[in-house]
Amino acid sequence: MTDRPVLQTPEERESYLNAGHSLRSWFLTTDHKRIAILYLVSITFFFFVAASAAALIRLDLLTPQGDLLTNEGYNRAFTLHGVMMVWFFLIPSIPSTFGNFLIPLMIGARDVAFPRLNLVSWYIYIVGGLFTLTALVLGGVDTGWTFYTPYSTMFANGAVLWVVAGITIVGFSSILTGLNFIVTIHKLRAPGMTWGRLPIFCWSHYATSLILVLATPVLAITLILLAAERLFRLGIFDPSIGGDPLLFQHLFWFYSHPAVYIMILPAMGVVTELVTAGARRRIFGYWFVACASIAIAAIGFLVWGHHMFVSGQSMYAGAIFSFLSLAVAVPSAVKVYNWTATLYKGELALDPPLLFAMAFIGLFTFGGLSGLMLALLAIDVHVHDTYFVVAHFHYIMVGGAVSGFLGAVHFWWPKMTGRMYSLTWGRISAGLIFFGFNLTFFPQYLLGYLGMPRRYHVYPPEFQPLNVLSSAGASILAVAYLLPLVYLVYSLRNGRPAGPNPWGASGLEWKTASPPPTHNFDETPVVGGPAYDYPQPAAAGHG
């Protein structure tokens, strides 16, 4: 290795990318890095499918009478958007691509603990995804991604059963990935890589994996019960045949609230890596940030009732869930303040990764604080099921999780491909996304407080100005999301070779070549210091 020039082009050097060029070498690979690339491509595909449904929705809402789509078409479009975004983009996005690619590299391992299981996860994902997409497009479902009963079991037309089956299938992919990560982090850490030296990215994925393994089976159970009522008229949820309609909401949110943390925790891990590398600083309060991930995962299981403040559940339950929902914000706040403190006295490089991380922090802070508003009972009663809620969760999931995902793409792209992309275009797209996002979703907070319910195909004319603003923002956002696709793909051939560590970052993944060799490291690394061990200016770091 030592006699080779540092900036060899990726094609000349042996790496996981040129370890085989046949289709077979990709589709039967057990290399975690190749599986990550398979995920990256398929997830990007599903993202743009789901995003085009959002584009239809925003176009349709330009006018109060909804001229573009029919009622049925609109209801199907937002269901497709929600189902595809939640289960086929957001939940697998960062864990399946970057978790897969990076966890073994970060802990100094050759691969994940169960490489073949890892490939099986991808196959389950892709089968579930194509199956669901076919059902949504050909059959059509209008229940929304929440499938509330008894509408979904006894009243809705369309391919509800098929879609529910597809989601149940893809759940197993989540469970297997979570299992793989837990075992990998426990068993395959390199010598010296103690729990206290683990990058926060790995802690976040550990917490995420716990939720994946514990919550996803509940979703499977819930959806199977739904299918049983729809198919066999078993009285589970519909009171006219002896069921309880609220039981479904309890079961569904017992999974789906933790699922929100499945979407955001990995992004929080990414942001920690981006902030420390962008500022060349050790993370402020390592243990607080690490434990905050676990605390979010744990308390996140106890807040599902805040989706049901107006459902008719007991007032006392409402008060308890309100309190716990405020409590679950504490570890998130700790993370935000720690990231900010990490920037203090750093050496900030305003490159795309740090810009995306700062966009994440800003949008997540705002989304999280508006979540506190929703946790307050009297305010939630008014804004529940309005555009206020839509704005809130898009700030978390799009402003937060998608910015985190794009930050990860811009940070580890040189590692994955061996090529640098245009930093200028990266900065432009980070700025455009931040601007377009706020223009799209901030007006929706106002719409919600003014009383515009969600899932409305037609709306009173007084809401039109804000809807037009929101749609204008969405068109900017559409351009901003397509832009990286262009310059990143362009960089694959034309980017300059990145070298092993273009950002000057710490972390084991930067110690090996870019793109890494199939076996990751030439010799098993030995870890001797803490995570983010950047050289500190004199007399620093012992406070």
């Binding site: 008894p150 509408y151 006295k345």
Partner: protein
């Protein structure tokens, strides 16, 4: 008021004013909690930009007190809001006794309102101002949700169950009424007008609206027509529980449990008589599930309520 571009929703009750105050105060707290993050990020990005000469010595990497501070202080501040907002919420959950009761039946895709005097209206709700009004709501099919933005109130309407919503609207006017729980094809147009009137105007409106007798009277007709009086009537020879004075009283059940004869219990006993059998009676009553609509059930319950109240009224 300019209807084209409204910046603030109309306020039609004292509760709406309080919710708005809470919302504004909490918005201020949000700004206060987020401002340090935004300002410091910008300041650090400028002052500590790579290549810029700045004092970077003694950069801290941990601090237990500052961590504890920024974990606990914002939480305590939000807890103050938690107490007030929960108090407001509990107020909206406890209707005062003697509130004017209006029954609501929701179905795909319309709202039906039944006033106690028997007046009916579809997709419009007229109420008197300055008076406590209680809505007792149920759905004939899927879950709906009644949203009255001018009151900052909303309550899901469930099939097979009564939920209630009460308010005291003090500003006469015409406001929006919407469905906020996705209920299918025409969900977006399942709404109408919520009209708050001065009490005299409301009384006048009731007169104009016309009626086939009060809900209780209509319920009595049904009670006879469906054959209920055959067993439950005063001179029946069958052994069935007497229903006079029953409403609101505890009912001992077969198996030792005790329940209260409220709207829900009476409704369920008509539809599913075998579920909770009154102690000491044989379960011989046939089910009426599928034969009586939610509107008829409301009438039957109104009748039972009226003969339940008679004993109480006699005492007054």
């Amino acid at each position: 008021m300019n209807d084209f571009f409204r910046m603030w929703p109309a306020q039609a009750s004292a509760h709406a004013v309080r919710v708005d105050q809470l919302f504004i105060a909490f918005s201020a707290l949000i700004v206060a909690l987020a401002a340090p993050v935004f300002i410091l990020m910008a300041v650090f990005a400028i002052r500590y930009r790579r290549g810029v000469d700045a004092d970077r010595s003694r950069a801290p990497v941990r601090g237990v007190w500052i961590e504890t501070g920024w974990a606990i202080i914002p939480f305590l501040l939000t807890l103050a809001f938690f107490v007030y907002s929960s108090w407001l919420y509990f107020q909206t959950g406890r209707p005062p006794p003697g509130a004017l009761t209006i029954d609501v039946v929701a179905k795909q895709w319309m709202w039906k309102f039944e006033h106690p005097g028997g007046q009916r209206e579809i997709d419009e709700l007229h109420v008197p101002s300055g008076e406590a009004v209680k809505l007792v709501m149920t759905s004939q099919d899927v879950i709906h949700s009644l949203f009255l933005p001018a009151l900052r109130l909303k309550q899901d309407v469930l099939p097979g169950r009564y939920t209630t919503l009460w308010f005291n609207a003090d500003k006469p006017g015409t406001y929006a009424l919407r469905c906020t729980q996705f209920c299918g094809f025409d969900h977006a147009v399942m709404g109408g007008r919520f009209i708050v009137m001065r009490p005299a105007d409301y009384a006048h409106w009731l007169q104009q609206a016309g009626t086939d007798g009060s809900l209780a009277q209509q319920g009595f007709e049904l009670f006879r027509r469906l054959g209920c009086s055959g067993c439950h009537g005063p001179d029946s020879t069958h052994r069935a529980p007497k229903l006079e004075g029953l409403y609101g009283r505890p009912v001992p059940l077969d198996g030792g449990r005790v329940t209260v004869a409220d709207d829900q219990y009476l409704r369920d006993s008509i539809l599913y008589p075998a579920r909770d059998v009154a102690a000491g009676y044989a379960p011989i009553m046939p089910t009426f599930a599928g034969q009586v609509s939610e509107s008829d059930l409301i009438r039957l319950v109104a009748y039972l309520k009226s003969i339940g109240d008679q004993a109480e009224e006699a005492r007054r």
